[in-house]
Each structure stands twice: as C-alpha cells, then as structure tokens.
Symmetry: C2
Subunit: 265 residues, 2 copies
C-alpha cells in the first residue's frame, strides 16, 4: 500500500517508474494519491481560493463547500489521477484509477459542520463536505488485483448516503491497508520522514515503536499529524510496518521499503 | 448502452434518475458521457480557451494540445464523471466511473497532427492528442457488470503506447456497443433526434433503415455527424437498434428505449 501526497516537490515520474518496476517484478501494489497543491493553484485561478481551518485540537483541513468539492474532484480525480494512470500505462502497467465514490471504495459519515479556531475563538462553519473513512470496499480492490489491474485511488469518499465527501488521504490509505491486510503502508511526501526538530532534516526520527506511535504526535507539524495518526491506525489494524518516506528522490518506493525514512514497526 | 452528451440543456438528474430506476429493475446498463460545454467554460476561466477545427470532410473536433487534454481530463474525468457517479450512488446504484485510460477500456492510435480548413485553406496542425477507438477492453466491463457495478465511462482513451488521447464519445460508445453485443445503443443529446431541416424540431426523422445510415449524413449538422457515423458503425457491428434521443426530458432513457427520437434499425 503506497500513499503519495500532493505537495510541491513530489516527483511523480520517479514514483511511477519505481512502482512500474516493482509491479512488473510481481509485487502487488495499491496506490493512493493526493493533489493538494495543484487544487490550491486551480482554485485560485477559478476565483474560489482555498480555505483551510484549524480544529481546536490542532488539525488543519480544507474547508470543502460544494464549489470547492467540485474543484477538488477536477484536480484529484481528473488531472492527478489520470496523469498517474497515464504514466503507469506508458510503462506497461494496466492501472485503473478510481475515487472513493466509485464502488464506494471509501465510505464514511458526512460531517456538514466543522469547529474551527479563528482569531483565538472557536467557530462552527456549516456547509462542509468532509468525513473520515470508516468502511472500505476491499472486494472491488481484490477483484481488480486478481485480474491484473493496479488500483490508483484518490479522495473524495462517499458518505453512507452517497454524497461526495473530502477525506484525508493518509487515513484513507491506513484504513485500506488494514482492510487488505497490507504487508506495509508507505506514506510518501516531500520530507524525509518525521523530524524531531522540523524543518531540520538531520533530525529524522528513524524508528517509532508500534505500541507508542501517538506519543510522537508532538513532533508532527501540520499535515504530518494526520500521517502519524494514520500510522497509529494502521499498526493498530494489524499492518506490520508503516514507513514515512521521501517522494522527492529517485526510487522512492523501493527506498522506503528498504527502510529509508521513519519506520513504525 | 447509453451515451449522454455534454452539451448545454442536458438534464443529468433526469438521466440518472431514469438509469437508476432501470438498473434497480434489473436492466444491465453501461453509461458513457461527455462534457464539452463545461470543458469550454473551464478552459476559458483557466485562460486556455477551446479551439475547434474543421476537417476537409466537414467534421468538427476539439484541437487537443497537452494543456487542453489536462483541462479536458479535469472536467470529463473529474467534475462530470464523479458528478454522475455521485448522483447514481445517492439513488442506490453502485456506479464505478472510469476513463478510457483506465484498464485501457478505450484504445486507439494517437494522431499527433490534424488537417484543418482555415480561411478556405487546408493546414496541418501538430501537437494534437486525438484518435479513434479501435479496441475496447470488454473483459473489464463484464467483470464490473457481473459483480453488480454500473460502469460510467468517459474519454479520453489510451493510445497503444499508453498516451491519453481525446476520442469522440459517440463513436467510443458505438465501439463498446459492438464489443458488448449491446441490445441497443442510445445516443442522447440536446435535440429530439436527427432533424431533416435543422433546427426545426418538427422535421424529426423517425426512422432510418440500418442498411442506409450513411446516406442520412447529409442531414447531420456539426456534432450530429459523428452520432450518425457512430450509429452506422454500431449497426454494422451487430447492434440491433440505435436511437438518437432527447436528454432534456424527464425519463430520457426510457423514452428513447420506447422509440421516441430517431430509431436506426
């Protein structure tokens, strides 16, 4: 199970080259991807700039009104997903790109309102389309894998009522790793792993014991918090290894599999 | 096999309501959709306006440079495809949205250059990403249908080298109808059918004999030409009925199946 983020600096060609090599050697893989930076860029161009909110417990997320959701779908499910599928098809991998809506691969409860800290005060914002993945359609993924297709997955998810909801990709990948009993979950982004003193890359934490993941939340900044949370969920769900790896390098998947980055085990 | 266009006036809610009712009654359906009008709107907003070219034989098509292709993917594979999947999921249909790139559902030769008539002269334009569907991955569609998933398909297709190419949706649906041995192919758009005197809707041609479709090309304007060509290809491929129907009405699929529109048989 490989999750690659959508931040600036990520080398999708390197990720897809590496995945194609591993797939053609016979490794079974599922790829989940993001698209955050490009969504921000397109949203600005379309005159509907992104809005991020911070929860009272310190987690940052995109406020997803209906218009934002449609821009999100354009970038995540259109440009990014099909760009990755095309890269893999060019390299001889029969990839199939799907969102969490398709076949309800990712399902969860629709949260219409979000509590956000603004100027030190907690406000409630309504009209949000977000949620957390609670259920995964593993059967559809097994069907694709057994028939030789590499699934390339992306948010949004489906609510239990069939409404599109924005979900965190790292935690979606963690839910999927649990459902598919994945050997390893790789969370690749534009940093070398979890850093003790962010952004000092020499302060890389090389190992986190599986029974103590949550105590490392204190070192996580911004989006890294959800990766740590996802790692905790995946190891609790039975995944043996979660690795935070660097997607700016050549062969980022092989390197993470070999233990480069932060290994949770 | 239902193809619904992407022109203004099409009522996607009506299409999806009708498809959901038919599906839940046990009819096997595959949906192919377009997204032309919305692609034009988004392309304008993103500062890369659409460019249409007319071939020496009178067919109009979108000139698809790489940037246009990515905008096309955002709208067709992102906004439109996931919007339709969401509508169907809300109505209890387990839809799965895929482009022709995914699993190489639609495959054809990449045409890099196009001959276009400009100011009465024929010019050759390079850097195009277009083609015609020559091969369909029927196995993947059977796999989905047999497991209870309704496929929702959209261009682009994949070239034989794995490059994304823009293909005509009507002719892609025709190729698919042939491959899947569909009982009927419905081509729904924002007109009542083929009109003898366009745009006079009272001049509807109600029936076209299957062995004489191409002689009706003379009545077809613009995008309707490819529908007539697609109809000819589908009936030559063994499809018993092709119907040009109106997607601006309530129950547009049921009405077309009942023979409302132009019936090729």
């Amino acid at each position: 199970m490989v999750k690659v983020g959508g931040s600036l600096g990520i080398d999708y060609d390197a990720v897809c080259n590496d995945i194609a090599d591993l797939w053609l050697e016979g490794k079974k893989l599922v790829l989940v991807h993001g698209g955050s930076a490009e969504t921000n860029r397109i949203a600005e161009l379309l005159g509907h700039p992104p809005k991020f909110v911070t929860s009272p417990s310190g987690y940052t997320s995109r406020f997803t009104d209906r218009e934002t959701l449609e821009i999100f779908e354009m970038v995540y499910c259109g440009k990014q997903n099909k760009g990755i599928v095309e890269r893999l098809q060019r390299r001889g991998v029969n990839a199939v790109g799907l969102s969490g809506l398709d076949g309800r691969i990712f399902e969860g409860k629709h949260k219409d309102s979000v509590r956000a800290v603004e100027n030190g005060k907690v406000k409630v914002l309504r009209g949000d389309h977000t949620g957390t993945v609670e259920k995964v359609n593993g059967a559809l993924l097994h069907l694709l894998l057994e028939n030789g297709y590499l699934p390339v997955l992306t948010p949004p998810a489906s609510s239990f009522e069939g409404v599109a909801i924005n979900v965190d990709g790292d935690r979606a990948a963690a839910a999927l790793a649990t459902e598919l009993k994945a050997e390893a979950l790789l969370l690749l982004s534009n940093v070398p792993g979890l850093l003790k003193n962010f952004p000092d890359e020499s302060s890389l934490i090389k190992h986190i014991p599986a029974n103590d993941v949550e105590s490392y939340l204190e070192f996580a900044q911004d989006r890294m918090k959800k990766k740590v949370l996802g790692a905790a969920e995946a190891v609790q769900g039975g995944c043996q290894r979660v690795i935070f790896g660097d997607a700016r390098l050549e062969k980022p998947v092989s390197k993470a599999l070999a233990g480069m980055g932060t290994v949770v085990s």
